[in-house]
Structure formats: C-alpha cells, structure tokens
Amino acid sequence: MSPYLIPLSDPIAWLYVFIGVGLGVIFGSLPGFTATMGLAVLTPFTFWVGTQQALAMLLGLLTSAIFSGGIPAILINTPGTPASIAMTWDGHPLAKQGRAGFALGINAIYAFLGIIASLVVLALAAFPLAAFALSFGPAEYFAVAAFGISTMVSVSSKSVLKGLLTGVLGLILALVGLDSITGYPRFTFGAAKLLDGVSFIPVMVGLFGVAEVFTQMYVKVPHAQEIVVKLTGILPSWADVKRLMPHAISGTLIGIWIGVMPAAGADVGAIMAWGQSRRMSRKPEEFGHGSPEGLVAAVTGANAGIGGSLVTTLALGIPGDSTGAVLIGALLIHGLQPGPLLFRNRPEIVAQVIALVFMSAIITLIWGLVGAKPLARILKVKDELLWGLVLMICCVGSYALNQSTVDVWTAIVAGAFGFVLRRLDFPMGPLVLALILGPMAESNLRRALTLSQGDVSILFTRPISLLFLVLTAASFLWPLITWLRGDKEKRPDRTAGSGCGRVDGVKPALRAELRGEGNR
C-alpha cells in the first residue's frame, strides 16, 4: 500500500481513531463540552504517542464531536456544541413527532457525506494552495499572519473591542522568551524557565479546559431528565434521499466555503446552510417545525466545514477558529509546522490527515447508525462527574508535557483568568490565534525589513503581500464601517439563524453562553 495511505491498513491507527471518535462523542454530546475543549484536554496525552496515533485521536475527536453535538440537539433540544444550534430547529421537532430515529439517522448519514465531500475539496485545494504558498517570502508570510490575526475581529462574536483586547493580550504572551531574531530575553524577569516562552499547550488547557469547567459550573446547563429513546426508522427511504439531495449539496457547498474562510466556523456554516435551504425550499413554512430538509442542510453545513477549515489550517498555517488553533498547537508539539513546507517536506502527513479524517468519518457513521441508543444514554451522565475528571486531566496532562509543575501552574492560572475574562465577555479565540500567529508575524516582518534594509515598501510592492494587507485592513475596518453606517443592530447574530431562524426551546442565555466561545 502507498505510504500515503498507511493508516487505512493499520489496525493500530483504526484503534486510535476509534478512541478519538469515542472521546469526541462524549465531548460533542454533552451540552457545554466542545470539540475545542476536547482537543485541548487530549493534546498533552498525544505527546507520548507517535505522530500518526496522535493525529488519529485528535482528528477522530474533531470529526465526531460536531456530529455528536447533533444528538442532544435532536433528542433534548439542547445543542451539544455551538455548531449544532441549527440542528435543534428541525431535529427536535422531528423527535417530538416520533421520528427521533429518522432525525438521528439523517444526522449520521449526512454528517458522513458532508465530511467526505469536504475531504475531496481538502485533497484537491490544499496541495495547489500550499505549492503556491511556497513562493512566499517573509513579506508575504507577515501579511498572511497579519491577516490571520485580523480574523480575531470575526471570532469576537459579542464585542469586537474586547476581542481585539484579548488578541493583544495573546500577542503580549507570545513576546515572552528569547527574541527569535537576536536571542534577546524579553519579559523573562530573570527566570530561566521563561526563556523558552509561555508554554502554549498549558495555556490552551487552562483556557479551554479549566475555564470551561468553571464556566459550566457557573452557567449550569440544564440537564436532560427525559430523553426520547424510541429510535426506529433510522434509515431514510430512497424517496427521502432524492428529495433531500439538493439540500445536502447546498449545505455541503456552503459548509466547505465557510470552513475555508478563516474565523468562520461550523456554527456559521450550519446556520447559513439552513437559511439557504429554506430559501430554496418549496415548503419554507415547514422549516423550524420538523423539516428534514432543514435538518439535512444544518448537518451538512456544520460537518462539511471540517475539511474546509483544514485547507487553510494545513496549507497556510492559519487556524480557521479556536479548534484550528488548538490543532496547530497539537501539531507543533509533534514537530510539525503547518504551512506550505509541511506539504513539500512531509506530504505523507497531509495524506495521512486526509486518510484519518476519512477513517474517523466511517467510524462516526457506524457509531451514529448502530449506537444511537447508547449515545442517547451518554446524555444522562451527570456533568459534575465529568468536571472533576476534566480538572484532573488538565493538571496531569499539563504536567506530562515536560514533567514540570510550571506547566500545571500555567494551566491553572490561565484557567482562572480565562473564567473571569469569559464572564466579562472577553472571547478566548483571539488570544489563541494571536499566541500562535504573533511570533510568525513579528519574525517575518523583521526578516522582510532586514532584506529591504529597513524599507517598508517591500510590504506593499509585492502583490500577494499587498493583497493580504488590504484584506487585513478590511477585516479590521469592517466593524467600524458597519458601525458608522449605523447598522450595528443589523449585524447577523450567529445564533439567531442570520435573522431567518427560530430557536425553539433553546434558552437565550444558554445560546449566548454557547456562542461566546469558539464555534465548534
């Protein structure tokens, strides 16, 4: 077998994918727990296994978490992850009509189809994009990094100003340690342990693990008491398949497109796909009342974003959202720097990523079709039991990275700060984006200026660099423009279906909490 497709024939790889999918089902199914949190908590573990096994677990978790978020959305009208908010709109009404099995079947089958379609796009688009990016010099890399950082505006769902502030905090954290160009120690205050900089993984574990547990304790998502478990008629009929096909295609295309766009995640993809599907439907009045078309659109829109977001994450090293940022951090601890050089020097890794997501999609499909009843039972697990476990894993996992308690302190301090910042509506996504992209932006800017002997025009005279800088400026200025135009109130609300949806039964406060962080 081709070395690029080794995981497909490797039982160990299947085993690790299975473990990752299992964890993803848990993190995705339980309301409040997200794919980002799961990835952050799992990453320290992966340091101790091989690269392929690590990727298998992480991608398995990522792939299944979004699908699994649809299960509580359908059964108890509470989205498991922000990406599954749109699935409550038609999924739960279907369950109330006695068609819970059918809705879960649609969730499993069309999630699979959406993921597979997005993988095709990943395979076709990522390699040419990476090949194109190989011609980039420091000026282009600076511009790309600046554009990536500018997307922090988009991930700041509640307050752009606060998003920018947490982004700047991330940039400051990224400054700690030896200067990458001159080796000058910055913000180390004489502490030798800070010379290598602030350890990225413990910060992520703190922000998305510890802080998440505290936030859940504070918000206390209502727990499922009565769950519909009469699950029959899971497979759609051939007539259903034909009727749902256009909506699946439309949802998949929108999901892929949104996934490719930096900072627009699966929740946006699902909501936009649902809205578009309603517009093209002959029976738009059924949307929100148990329309299978609406559910298919939401499911494909959310899941097709997986491959789409991996395009920019892998080819350019720009994380699409918090999940992408955590994934990049996980790759970094395995010595893999996402970007065009990864495609040139380690193309087998990229091929393995595609193969592993494919394997994850297959296992997720099987889970979804034959494991519907056990999956429903996961919803009965008390959150309190998992909080203690997650806190312990955060501590032990952070320690395991370097066998240093400094990392555990970092995780706990980041968790405490993260909790307070989240209560005050400071989003965490920009901080992580800036922490990853800040060093890339700084080092490449200084390299570019060294090459041009201090002439800043190098940034504006090269077309690709200029293009990304214009996009960066547009990204930063767009909120200001909309504010000046006086349509601030019309800004699309991600959780409200772009103004075209309804969110039956999902408590507004819960939606606000869910949308506040990450988008998966």
């Binding site: 573990f45 100003l161 400051i172 400054l175 039991l385 405490a416």
Partner: protein
C-alpha cells in the same frame, strides 16, 4: 449577561478591566523601552512590544470610553437564576484545592494526594461521601494506570 440601565450600585466591570489593561500596556511599554532598538531602520527586539503595548493602551482607553455611553452589564448574573455567590465560592474553593494540590506535587505521592483532592472536589460539587470516595478511587487508579503504567510518566 444582562443589560440594565446605568445604576450606581452595579460595579462597572468594563471600566475596571480597561484600567487594569491600560496599566498593563504602560508596564509593557516601559519594560520594552529597555530592549535594544532599531539598527539602520531594521526593528530590534523593542519594536513589537512597544507597538503592542501602545495598542493595548489605545484599545483599553477606547473600552473605557465606550462604557461611559452604553448600559452597564451584569456580567455575573446567572442565566438560569440562582445566587452567584454560592457557585463562586465553590469555584474559589476548587481553585484553592488545586493550588494546594500543585504545591504538594513534589512532596506527597500521586496516589495519596489525588484521591483527597477528588473527594474534596466531588463533595464541593454536591456528591455524597460514598459516591465521592468511589469516584476518587476509580479516577485516581485510571489516571495512574494511563500515565504511569501506559505512558511511563513519573507522577
């Protein structure tokens, strides 16, 4: 988060945040002013920290300016209702326990300190003694088996 009209009794968290962040920005700029500067137009180690520190100050001041106009938010209101103080006490108690746990990391063995922490956490979260003890025993053993047994990490 709940929007409420300006009220004197409601603490202005946005203003407090902006003050803290402004001070942080000033500290960054002052500290970075001691780093080597530009050489022949090429920025040195001081360039980025100075820019970022300045940006932080500007954004924090903007935040302070916006808080004067809009309504104050009750960031600590719990969506489902209920007293925030009770759950905040629980969170602080767990944080203190975690701090103690890390402080004892190199002194008390894993198998002794971890079950104690877990029992305490589960009791704070409202579990019964029996359940807390059982969970602590199971989780401690599982973590030990995975990290020490499987991954050979000295805990």
């Amino acid at each position: 988060m709940t929007d409420v009209p300006p009220q004197r009794h409601l603490f202005n968290w946005d203003l407090a945040s902006s003050v803290v962040l402004t001070l942080l920005g000033v500290a960054v700029v002052i500290h970075a002013s001691g780093f080597p500067g530009a050489v022949r137009g090429v920025p040195g180690p001081a360039f980025f920290p100075m820019v970022i520190g300045g940006l932080l100050i500007a954004l924090a001041v903007s935040l302070a300016a916006t808080t004067r106009k809009g309504p104050r938010h009750d960031y600590w209101a719990r969506p489902g209702g209920g007293a925030p103080r009770v759950v905040l006490r629980q969170i602080v108690a767990i944080l203190i326990l975690l701090v103690a746990y890390i402080s004892l990391w190199d002194i008390v063995p894993f198998l002794a300190r971890t079950p104690v922490l877990l029992v305490a956490i589960y009791r704070i979260l409202g579990e019964t003694w029996k359940r807390a003890l059982l969970l602590a025993a199971i989780l401690t053993f599982a973590l030990y088996a995975v990290f020490q047994g499987l991954l050979s990490i000295q805990l």
